[in-house]
């Protein structure tokens, strides 16, 4: 029965993908997603832990956090805002609820659930992931059709000189584009989790040797992602945003280091790494710029969420143990001796996908967070700069507006962020989302290969700065010595 509920959910999502590619029910599908995801998470929690899924990387926790983030954005009025939900998504969510009830009823005698023709808990989880994957894909397809329709109407409207009120706005197109990126990320994470469920621990061996640091990095990344969503969901301090951005930048850099090492040892296609490295470097720089902008808003009394600090600390320690040594980044040989390179590269790539969603959440916070404030002199400088850029782009609302009074500047009073200053933060987050999205796209073909060609020393190729740094190790004299 539970299997039938889940199977019908998968069939329904496939049907939805085809039907909605040409319709405009997109907003309803997006609105229905948080509820669908919550029902899925509740269903996932019922069966005993799946032995084929790494305990360190519960895929539903991250997907559920992403679903909640979409829900919060909708509640705050971001596109498509509040409104009716898609009926098919509601039906699937209700199937999940029914499946959960059935599994709970059989919880006492779980053996009975695994009879022929019925779903074992493991199969149920795999089917659940599959249903989510298809549902996310369907939503992304519908969104893409919707965005194309908007762009077409925009172009036709401009050509026919229709009144502005009858044309879609550039903001609508941008919002749809942003939502596509988020659902692409959700789809990719669900697909990656499905693949991981089949791959990880197939031998059911305990984590030893190179597997231990590999598992440790995966666990730390999973814990980080979930904590980052939690922290950003509960009235974050700008200091939290700084920490999230800095850690995401470090993850991008670590992906370069691991990818380069894997390519040099022929464990991953070097061509893919050639394309991926510049995109990752751009993502790292974009996250770092975002961190600097948020740092301007921190105050002496700012406190970072202790749970976020703990998760960041564990991730830093895991990364350091895997890819660093006393002189900086470790050599490819050293890294290969510590971790399973292809497995870690894929884990980091999945984390990068989650980073797309974090960038969008950051963008929403920049646009909406009511408590954002900064010293008047800084605001005057930032607001003026952003307003000038906006005016150059045809925005007339900011012309002649004074954002800060002379008295506020004289006292350097801490005042709420005006719209142009927020705009700078929003733009920085938009850049991050775009750069991370490009990196995700470049990594789409990142797959371990048994016979990938190792990088030739004489071959002209782009080598990441991290790799170049490894090639010329700077040795510092030991001036301090290891503390006791």
């Amino acid at each position: 029965m539970a299997a039938r509920s889940l199977s019908s959910s998968t069939t329904a999502t496939g049907w939805r993908a085809r039907r909605c590619s040409t319709c405009l029910l997109t907003g309803r599908m997006v609105r229905g997603w948080p509820q669908l995801m919550q029902s899925a998470a509740e269903l996932w929690a019922v069966p005993p832990p799946d032995p084929t899924v790494s305990a360190s990387g519960d895929p539903i926790a991250t997907l559920a956090a992403m679903g909640r983030a979409v829900g919060r954005g909708l509640a705050a009025g971001h596109w498509p805002g509040r409104g009716p939900r898609d009926e098919a998504w509601e039906q699937i969510a209700s199937n999940f609820v029914q499946a959960r009830r059935l599994l709970e009823e059989h919880a006492a005698g779980s053996e009975a659930v695994s009879t022929d023709g019925q779903a074992s808990p493991t199969t149920a989880n795999t089917q659940l992931l599959h249903a989510l994957y298809v549902a996310a894909h369907a939503t992304a397809v519908a969104l893409t059709g919707y965005e194309r329709g908007l762009q077409h109407r925009l172009e036709v409207g401009a050509r026919r000189r229709q009144p502005l009120v009858e044309r879609p706005t550039a903001l609508e197109v941008e919002s749809a584009g942003g939502m596509i990126a988020r659902f692409d990320a959700i789809e990719e994470l669900a697909a990656g989790s499905l693949a991981a469920a089949r791959r990880i621990d197939a031998t059911d061996q305990p984590a030893t040797g190179r597997r231990r640091p590999t598992v440790r990095i995966a666990a730390a990344l999973a814990a980080w992602e979930i904590q980052a969503y939690r922290t950003l969901a509960s009235h974050p301090d700008p200091a939290d945003l700084v920490r999230v951005a800095r850690v995401q930048a470090l993850i991008a850099t670590t992906t370069v280091v691991v990818g380069e090492a894997a390519a040099r040892r022929g464990e991953i296609d070097a061509g893919v790494i050639d394309r991926l490295t510049p995109a990752l470097e751009k993502a790292q720089l974009a996250w770092s710029r975002s961190a600097r902008r948020w740092a301007e808003l921190t105050r002496a009394a700012s406190r970072t969420d202790p749970a976020l600090v703990k998760a960041a600390g564990q991730l830093r320690t895991a990364i350091r143990a895997a890819v660093a040594n006393q002189t900086g980044w470790a050599t490819p040989e050293q890294i290969a001796g510590r971790i399973d390179l292809p497995a870690t590269a894929l884990t980091l790539h999945r984390s990068l996908v989650a980073g797309v969603e974090l960038a969008h959440v950051t963008r929403e916070i920049a646009a909406d967070h009511p408590g954002l404030a900064a010293p008047a002199r800084l605001i005057a400088m930032r607001a003026q700069g952003e307003a000038e850029v906006a005016i150059e782009q045809g925005e007339t609302r900011f012309e002649g507006v004074r954002w800060v009074t002379p008295r506020q500047i004289a006292a350097n009073e801490v005042i709420p962020l005006p719209e142009p200053a927020r705009r700078g933060l929003v733009n920085a987050a938009t850049d991050v989302a775009a750069a991370t999205n490009q990196a995700v796209a470049a990594a789409a073909h990142l797959r371990p290969t048994e016979h990938a060609p190792a990088v030739q020393a004489d071959r002209a190729r782009h080598i990441g700065r991290a790799a170049r740094q490894r090639e010329i190790p700077v040795r510092h004299p030991n001036r301090g010595g290891r503390p006791r």
Binding site: V242, R243, R246, A466
Partner: protein, 118 residues
């Protein structure tokens, strides 16, 4: 009264540690950002940031954190000063969190002096 005075002294000392660690983080990030994409220095700069966060949580509510910007242009020197200040804290303020912070800062001093992590 003596206990109160000791608590105030400890709180102010911890606030001083926060200022030192934050300034060390500013310098470390400036160096990492100057290096462009992919520097290993990100690892140590993040470590200093996290240590400053830990220290901030040890400062009791109501203690003034703001103060003069610590003098020094090398993160290693500021970290060493923070380490020394932490050693000066009276035993009454000893706690697991403080012990952990001491160990973290000592590790960072070692990293900064040896170049580990960037």
């Amino acid at each position: 009264l003596n206990k109160h005075a000791t608590d105030v002294d400890a709180a102010e000392t911890l606030a001083g540690v926060v200022r030192l660690l934050r300034q060390a983080a500013v310098l470390a990030w400036a160096a990492a950002d100057r290096a462009g994409a992919g520097p290993a220095a990100q690892l140590s700069a993040l470590g200093v940031d996290l240590a400053a966060d830990q220290a901030r949580h040890l400062v009791p509510d109501g203690t003034e954190i703001d103060g003069p910007v610590p003098v020094g242009d090398q993160p290693a020197g500021l970290l060493r000063s923070a380490e020394l200040l932490l050693r000066r804290l009276p035993p009454i303020t000893a706690s697991d969190a403080l012990d952990y912070l001491r160990a973290t800062v000592a590790d960072l001093v070692w990293e900064a002096n040896t170049g580990a992590g960037g």
